[in-house]
């Protein structure tokens, strides 16, 4: 009797073990996730994506590996959990530049405040009376598609003098590219400057520029691309850390850039739902799509998976005057202080899964709902905001439902 019970128990346990795969919690639906690679990468590209994923999400810098001594966060993943938007606790502060041109603090603490320091050091403080903006980290998804677009494509939407009279201009931010920037055939130079497309003010010309800046300004990590520690306000003689430079290998930087390039684009959910279809129509009618350009197609890219792909970011990557309410008095590159780059709206509905169950929208996370964010639109977007306000409550909900489906 005992023997039978034991054999039966063993048999049940064996079945349990054999069914291991059934134990694993199921994967979330692909359209519920922001991370993951674009479809169609080669095996070699998959490997580079994985190496970049490790550099982005798993590599945490410590004082022994070069963190700081002045910094904002210890890893890329700290600010972009799940490759999504960041949280106010990792919000950056940029300061010093009140007009288009150069940042007068670029060699004295600017452009970014390093508000944290490793033990034994005192973090940087904002200079008295200086202009500044707080910047909430954006989502990383689909960046490779945006980078692949040509300058000509971006310029086709620019209307600096509002010749079409729709009240919406749209201008590129021309910025001085770093020395390591290698222009590609699709880049167009103007007076030695190039169009920026990444960052809330579009001040980074490509993902390498954005990444090297983040290593340096966010984490205090030097690379071969930029071997200087960030400058600290009023501490011109501040000794750097005791870690040999560069603190991150060029291969790691390039793998990380490749990871960012090949993160998939967010996938819309419930796009056939009638309310969402209606919401999209209202979005277009309210002229939101004049800046939040729904659709683009990439040209040929060196990464086959990014070539000739149509994608739906809802951005034109251009600067727009957003009115006095969003004018912090700070700017970057050739942008005016009231101008902000149109942020992509894709992934908006998944923001709360990376921001701790809440959402923090606009450039500094000041809006905690989509409705609040719309209400904060001014300047060129004032007309669209008013059109939204004039919609019935039901239609407003449909438009918001559409945005949440992105």
């Amino acid at each position: 009797m005992l023997k039978s019970r034991l054999i039966l128990t063993a048999a049940v346990l064996c079945c349990f073990i054999v069914a291991c795969d059934e134990l694993i919690p199921p994967a979330p639906e692909e359209n519920e996730l922001l991370d993951g690679p674009v479809e169609g990468l080669s095996n070699e590209e998959n490997l580079q994506f994985l190496l970049g994923d490790i550099a982005f999400n798993d590599e945490v810098f410590t004082p022994e590996t070069g963190l700081g001594p002045f910094f904002v966060a210890a890893s890329c993943g700290s600010c972009h959990i799940g490759d999504g938007k960041g949280h106010p606790f990792t919000t950056l502060t940029r300061f010093g530049q009140a007009a288009p041109g150069m940042n007068p603090f670029s060699n004295n603490g600017g452009p970014q405040l390093q508000n944290r320091a490793i033990p034994g050091h005192v973090p940087e403080e904002l200079p008295a009376g200086v202009v500044f903006s707080r910047i909430t980290p954006p989502a990383n998804t689909g960046l490779g598609f945006l980078e692949a677009l040509t300058d000509a494509q971006l310029l086709s939407n620019a209307d600096p003098n509002d010749l079409d009279g729709d009240g919406i201009s749209g201008v590129p931010n021309y910025v001085t590219a770093p020395d390591y920037f290698v222009p590609q055939p699709h880049h167009q130079e103007l007076n030695g400057q190039y169009i920026g497309r990444f960052g809330k003010k579009a001040a980074a010309v490509n993902l390498l520029h954005q990444t090297v800046n983040a290593y340096k300004q966010d984490m205090g990590i030097t690379s071969e691309f930029d071997s200087e520690e960030p400058s600290i306000y009023n501490k011109p003689n501040q000794a750097p850390d005791n870690v040999e430079d560069p603190e991150v290998a060029s291969s790691t930087v390039r793998n990380l850039v490749f990871y960012l390039r090949t993160l998939k684009a967010p996938i819309q959910r419930n796009e056939t739902d009638e309310d969402i279809i209606r919401g999209k129509q209202l979005f277009t009618q309210a002229q939101c799509s004049s800046c939040h350009t729904p659709q683009w197609t990439t040209p040929v890219s060196d990464v086959a998976a990014l070539s000739n792909k149509t994608f739906f970011p809802y951005t034109d990557l251009l600067l727009h005057d957003m009115g006095s309410g969003l004018d912090d008095g700070y700017t970057e590159g050739s942008a005016l202080t009231s101008e902000w780059r149109t942020p992509p709206l894709w992934g908006l509905g998944l923001s709360e899964n990376s921001q701790g169950g809440q959402i923090f929208l606009m450039h500094d996370g000041r809006a905690t709902s989509i409705r609040q964010a719309i209400a904060m639109h001014g300047g060129e977007a004032e007309n669209s905001r008013n059109q939204f306000t004039n919609l019935s409550a039901e239609d407003q909900e449909k438009l918001i439902a559409f945005l949440r489906s992105l």
Partner: protein, 401 residues
């Protein structure tokens, strides 16, 4: 490594031919503090030493979010004990552990004990700080679960041992026993808030091999524990370990403020009244003085604990093993690495894990256990985004030898 193994195997081979006694019985009246000696040893006529040890190995199949690393096999640790009674009331014991197939070799315990009185013993050497219960009582064969408790290995970084001296004592009357321990040792270092784990991580100090050579800051670390046991119902212990963890000065020059780490723990083990069901648990609080100017990613308060419920469903002769036991067991555990709220939003900081681990264990003898664990972990990141559920099955054994 090779030489070490050769030495151990050689010693084992020689001594095994003279083995006389198998002190396989575990003293059930012992307190947790006695765990280091309350182990099965082999002693020999011609050698002044007794030998023991344990080995554990297991397989794991874990996955989350539809992805699994597949089936893997581990040998988490092979541990050797060598003890010697030098003279009456003077003894020595060492515990040497090879972790992860020999990737790490550590002297977890190497201490000399001299008894002046049952209430006054002196111990010196590499000691296991008596914080909580698991740190001193961590032998694999004593537990029904393959993984060590999370809080007991990541808040209290068991096995946490260090160089130092101290006193302890024990007294018993009727069905009660009382014990105390007090030690001064080397302590932690500043790496606990500079870890690649991206959180305050007390085990990081274990990477500092110099802690057996010198204190990181010249300030002794104090560990105190008291325990009371009723032989019928069980034991409860209260312990505290604290001190300055950072290097605040060097060559007489001040580098930083003195920053303290304090760990408090309550542990208990016993049987439910009128039942054979055992309860074992431990809860830990750690307060860490993290500079306000450092990242909130590194928490200044950590909490966590576990409770094991073990019920023998069969205790009889099974498959020709006398005194075999088949247990059903359940572990509930929780660890929060960052208690507090964000300065920027006032919202709760998360960074915690809950786990439930149902288990079946079979003990053909008290010194050997075969274990099957089904583990479910729910982990939330620092912001409290939707929890990641990790589920896995583990099978393995742990045995004294």
């Amino acid at each position: 490594m090779k030489k070490f193994l050769t030495l151990v195997m050689g010693l084992w081979f020689c001594t095994s031919t003279f083995a006389q006694t198998d002190k396989g019985k575990v003293d059930t009246t012992a307190l947790n503090m006695d765990a280091v000696y309350n182990r099965p040893f082999l002693s020999f006529d011609k050698l002044p030493v007794a030998l023991g040890g344990y080995l554990e190995a297991n397989s794991s199949y874990f996955g989350s979010d539809g992805l699994s690393e597949g089936l893997s096999f581990q040998i988490p640790r092979l541990t050797i004990f060598i003890s010697s009674t030098i003279a009456e009331r003077i003894k020595f014991l060492t515990e040497i552990e090879l972790e992860e197939g020999g990737a790490e070799i550590a002297i977890e315990f190497a201490a000399f004990d001299i008894e002046f009185h049952p209430m006054l013993n002196f111990r010196g050497g590499v000691i296991m700080n008596p914080i909580g219960a698991f740190n001193q009582n961590h032998d694999g064969p004593k537990w029904e679960f393959i993984n060590r408790p999370i809080a007991s290995t990541t808040i209290i970084p068991s096995t946490w041992s260090n160089v130092g001296f101290g006193i302890y004592g024990k007294t018993a009357k009727n069905s009660w026993a009382f014990a105390y321990e007090a030690y001064l040792t080397n302590g932690f270092d500043g790496s606990i808030i500079g870890s690649a784990e991206n959180r305050t991580w007390l085990p990081q100090s274990k990477a500092n091999k110099e802690r057996f050579e010198e204190s990181s800051n010249g300030v002794a670390w104090l560990t105190l524990k008291t325990a009371i046991k009723n032989f019928k119902y069980g034991e409860i212990g209260f312990s505290w370990m604290g001190g300055v963890y950072n290097k605040f000065e060097e060559d007489g020059l001040q580098l930083d403020e003195r920053r303290r780490l304090d760990i408090f723990a309550i542990d208990f083990n016993g049987k439910l009244p009128f039942s054979r069901t055992k309860l074992i648990g431990e809860y830990t609080w750690a307060n860490i003085d993290v500079p306000a100017t450092f990242s909130q990613q590194f928490g200044n308060r950590q909490r966590g604990g576990f409770i094991d419920i073990v019920h023998p469903i069969l205790n009889q002769r099974i498959l020709d093993w006398d005194n075999s036991t088949l247990n059903l067991a359940l572990r509930l555990e929780y660890v929060d690495y960052n208690k507090g709220s964000f300065r920027e939003t006032g919202g709760n900081i998360f960074d915690h894990t809950y786990s439930i681990v149902p288990a079946v264990s079979f003990r053909p003898s008290p010194q050997t256990v075969l274990r099957l664990n089904y583990r479910m972990d729910w982990t939330r990141d620092i912001l409290g985004n939707p929890s990641v559920k990790t589920v896995g099955l583990q099978f393995g054994f742990s045995t004294y030898f």
